[in-house]
Symmetry: C2
Subunit: 701 residues, 2 copies
Amino acid sequence: MAGACALLSCAGPARAEDGYELWMRYRPLSPFYVDGVAAVAPALTIDAPPSATVDAATSELRRAFSVWLGRPLTIVNDGAGLLLCRVDRPCAEKLPKIAKKPPALPGAFRVDRLNGGRIAISAHDDIGLLYGSFALLRHIQQQVPLDDLPQSDAPRAAIRMLDHWDNLNGSVERGYAGRSIFQWWRLPGYVDPRLTDYARANASIGINAVAVNNVNAPATFLAPRVIAKAKALADTLRPYGIRVYLSARFSAPRDLGGLATADPLAPEVQRWWRAKADEIYAEIPDFGGFLVKANSEGQPGPQDYGRTHADGANMLARAVGKRGIVIWRAFVYDPDPAVERTMQAYNAFQPLDGKFDANVVVQAKNGPLDFQPREPVAPLFAAMPKTQLGLELQITKEYLGFSTHLAYLAPLFEEALDTGGLGADGRATLAGVVTAGPTSLIAGVANIGSDRNWSGSHFDQANWYAFGRLAWDPARSSEAIAREWVALTFAPDPPLIDAVVPMMLASRQTVVDTMTPLGLAHLMGSDHHYGPAPWVDDLGRPDWNPVYYHRADAEGIGFDRSATGSSALAQYPAALAKRYADDSDPALPLLLWFHRKRWDDRLVTGRTVWDELVVRYDRGVAGVDSMAVQWNGLRGRVDDQRHAEVAALLKVQQNESRWWRDASIAYFQSLSRRPLPAGHAAPAHPLSWYRDQSFPEAPGI
Amino acid sequence: MAGACALLSCAGPARAEDGYELWMRYRPLSPFYVDGVAAVAPALTIDAPPSATVDAATSELRRAFSVWLGRPLTIVNDGAGLLLCRVDRPCAEKLPKIAKKPPALPGAFRVDRLNGGRIAISAHDDIGLLYGSFALLRHIQQQVPLDDLPQSDAPRAAIRMLDHWDNLNGSVERGYAGRSIFQWWRLPGYVDPRLTDYARANASIGINAVAVNNVNAPATFLAPRVIAKAKALADTLRPYGIRVYLSARFSAPRDLGGLATADPLAPEVQRWWRAKADEIYAEIPDFGGFLVKANSEGQPGPQDYGRTHADGANMLARAVGKRGIVIWRAFVYDPDPAVERTMQAYNAFQPLDGKFDANVVVQAKNGPLDFQPREPVAPLFAAMPKTQLGLELQITKEYLGFSTHLAYLAPLFEEALDTGGLGADGRATLAGVVTAGPTSLIAGVANIGSDRNWSGSHFDQANWYAFGRLAWDPARSSEAIAREWVALTFAPDPPLIDAVVPMMLASRQTVVDTMTPLGLAHLMGSDHHYGPAPWVDDLGRPDWNPVYYHRADAEGIGFDRSATGSSALAQYPAALAKRYADDSDPALPLLLWFHRKRWDDRLVTGRTVWDELVVRYDRGVAGVDSMAVQWNGLRGRVDDQRHAEVAALLKVQQNESRWWRDASIAYFQSLSRRPLPAGHAAPAHPLSWYRDQSFPEAPGI
């Protein structure tokens, strides 16, 4: 058998590398490295009270080491080898002193080498032992020298959360990776074994909270029949330190409870929610709480009764009590489109600063609009010092090419988390704001579905991974995360890593260039958000239309958000506003977001606005072509199946980036009436051809 | 590594037995058996012209033997070992004479032992070599002695077809196994590698035709953009001998072509279809043809223009020409509900016998109603001697418990195929009718989706398997198929096979008993067809309502289809009508289908109708309980993951069978007003409780 295992996967080629194992691929180690591993891991000693979480840690260690050692990792009462040690137990005497300090948040751990080279994973709590186990496995998977230990780590945000926009019928809003992995219809009688692997994957990167249903939630999700389903999920995820949250419809007391009102100040409404919370906690004792989209895009909310967002959030928070939290989304825009769209969340929430209960988190998207390929940070993050704010990122690529395009999002996340000077004191980065307290929260809208590879494409797994790693520690760099992800997911092969990581790091800017260069935004097709449609001008309200955002005409293009325009810049602290107003950075990341320019205005790059726009679109296409060339050069360094799958998607991306470029240039040229700069080819089709394309079955709606 | 492979799956436990490999699990053989295999397979000699199909055969042999031998199966120019031989090549001289007879249909093969024990797979065509390779692999997987060769086989039906009711948006009508595996949205740029495994699975059981889209088809499926997707599928399936068919909307010339009419006699319509067929054949040279649901359940058809089904079918058949066929479904019921529903297809089609072109197949469901757990055969099969009829079976369990309930359908298929005495001469069984000529066709509505285990549950894989095996040879027995499926899918372990096969063989009758005992039919919930709803009486037309079918009232229950009632019996040949009219078989399979009985009528069983009904429901529940007990006893004989998954579903089935029984008894008792027979418990809830249940998100619509 050993020979066959080297040639084929041992289980036969129906078991080709399909991505199911994510970054938890425990493959044979190099002969040199494995000797060192075998020396320190003859067996495993566990000194911790029995618990499902310790069992999960043990099971993961045995799973990996059994492959590496070629024999089972036996558990011994006390002896040599790996030590899994909770620091309130006698084993703590063997540990370095530093491990004994109590952590600020649950989950901190150390991985030490003791005298004689023995490896000890230690933590103050069971979940720390699990996280520490995954950290050690990651270390070995990458074949980092064992002498590079100790390693210690602790989470910076208390709640590291995935928001699933999953519906009860199995569809996933903005999901491009198949159906809801939760298989709602089959719960609670049947829990897909895959959910244990889902829990493992989340725990391996520190995710500890999951909102299991779409924020556009029907009240049905609070019916007893469905709470039983959520309980089955909670029971499955609990050993991995993951708490379940539910998106709640604000009008549930009416829709489900039969009350005449959902007014948050009505006593019967308060009683209804309290009883509902009690009912849920009876089934799910560690229920995390409610996530609420209220008075936004047609969802009901407290404003329906003349109450404020704070009235609504606090009423729910009191129903939950000390048992959990309420996450209240700040993604709102006024029914009155007279106010500039990107200013509305600030206007609605900033005046409420200080009015929210302690167990309310106000969760805002990273930018003021809606998960565009590039946005400035939302001004709200610097405007509510007395409120616990949470950050909502989007992992699923609603606006960045679905699961087709290769776009590594860590640079986008990092850009949001690392916006220096956001606070008036120049110190409070966004990372600081969202990691302030015991309810500090970073959430990501999940890109996970029933597809065999979880995320619809292999490279989209990196966005799930990067989200978890950044939510745990926002100071990590995109590059470091990419390097470890490539090593874990493909192979700890330095030439491979050196080739793939630069592709990943450049990929998000490439998508920006192919779709929304120079700070443009919201140019995509209606409803499904697939493909270019900058010409759309006939939707129900002005700020749903692409033309509202790019404002292109015969004169020029861009949105003046300075004092001479919408004044959105005034919502930012002065230092940041100054930075955003500056157009001297040759990268011009947000030029047309904040400025309106004439087509012939000369930019810092030396080109006119029109020429620069065309150059950027072409640069985007060239970036995709370059990725395809680089990836093709890696044939043989990556297993055939995954190599072919990525190559096929890059080919699609090559076509789609040309479509974006050509459609956009054809449209903007119909307004600018200017020739293309020398050396840039005309669109493949006339504008009318692009306008005529339709894709009624595009996914994710 | 060898040790670890024995203990864990070599690839690690994330690679638990999840059912992905179906019945093509090439696992290490017993030490005794493997020696014999190693002796006859030191290498592989191929004597056949190069082709993608021969490559597929070679690749499958190498895949399996490399695991079995623990080393790659090398290909040699000539020598010892396996021989893959096309009989028009020199290798034929080594074969027994009998292999040289030309087969009636493509795909026949022999597997012989030559002098010295060498094994030769031979065929007249490449696809026969592929089928023969799978036959040999099946033989070895089951560890049947090699001395039991030779084996020879040939298909009895020319077209062995899966009908996928898959929609362009990824949903699957009556699908309970996730989304469409075809991933329409990503085609043609991205072809899921899984589709190669899908092709392998189909070829392994002889399936050679696939209709890739729902019979309720939008005309979009004939748009160039979508034909390109079908082409990508056809290119992937072709090496495995599988031809692609498309469901076509009859009104496409209007919907898509912009014509004013779709009248089949209009020259412009005929031209449109001819051009459309040419367009498809330019992309897919071996395109199988069109599958059409016309003038049925709201679909457009020739009757919209005063033309007949034959007019419509022949017009399309002439557009296709000699290149393919048109499959015209006989599942129609008149807009005028005055005629008894089960008689309508006969009335609509029988008069057209002899009017269809040679390349038209009229495809009828096995029964006259609609895939119920038990029906008599459709009378049409004995009524159209001058027409090529095709048989449509349903593999997906729309009416038999979705993918939740364990119901092995081969006995149902066999019942339809083996209805003796259907022809006037007492000889022409249904199997004979559907396997008459070069366009003989058996189709099954697929139960395949994106679920990791393909069919939603492990045991539902058996229904896909059994369909293929029976379509290839309708004379095979349900039991023999079950025995080989268990051996291939779980293990060649006689005690396991002896325990599981009886469960499987009894399971369909158990579902009949729990849902529609004694020949009842169509008692399920509206639209989604989930759960019991015998009380429904308010749907748009009489024959959509369960009350139309059971006709229960204070007096009795059942549908009189004799001469004193609807006279449906008169549509059958005399011998069969006599058999169906007879109610002296204590199994009473179709009692209430053909007869109306008073509640107190005494049956051949000695019980009254009312008591027998209750007894049957209870027998059904007991049958499910018994399956659960038997399966639990197999813990340890089946891998943990699949054992647990099946056990969880059996638990759901235990609950749902009680729900069916109790709801049905509560309802029928509200009419019969009779006490339950002694020893039978009352329903758990009052009737109103059952009527109040609602499941708006039930899958498959």
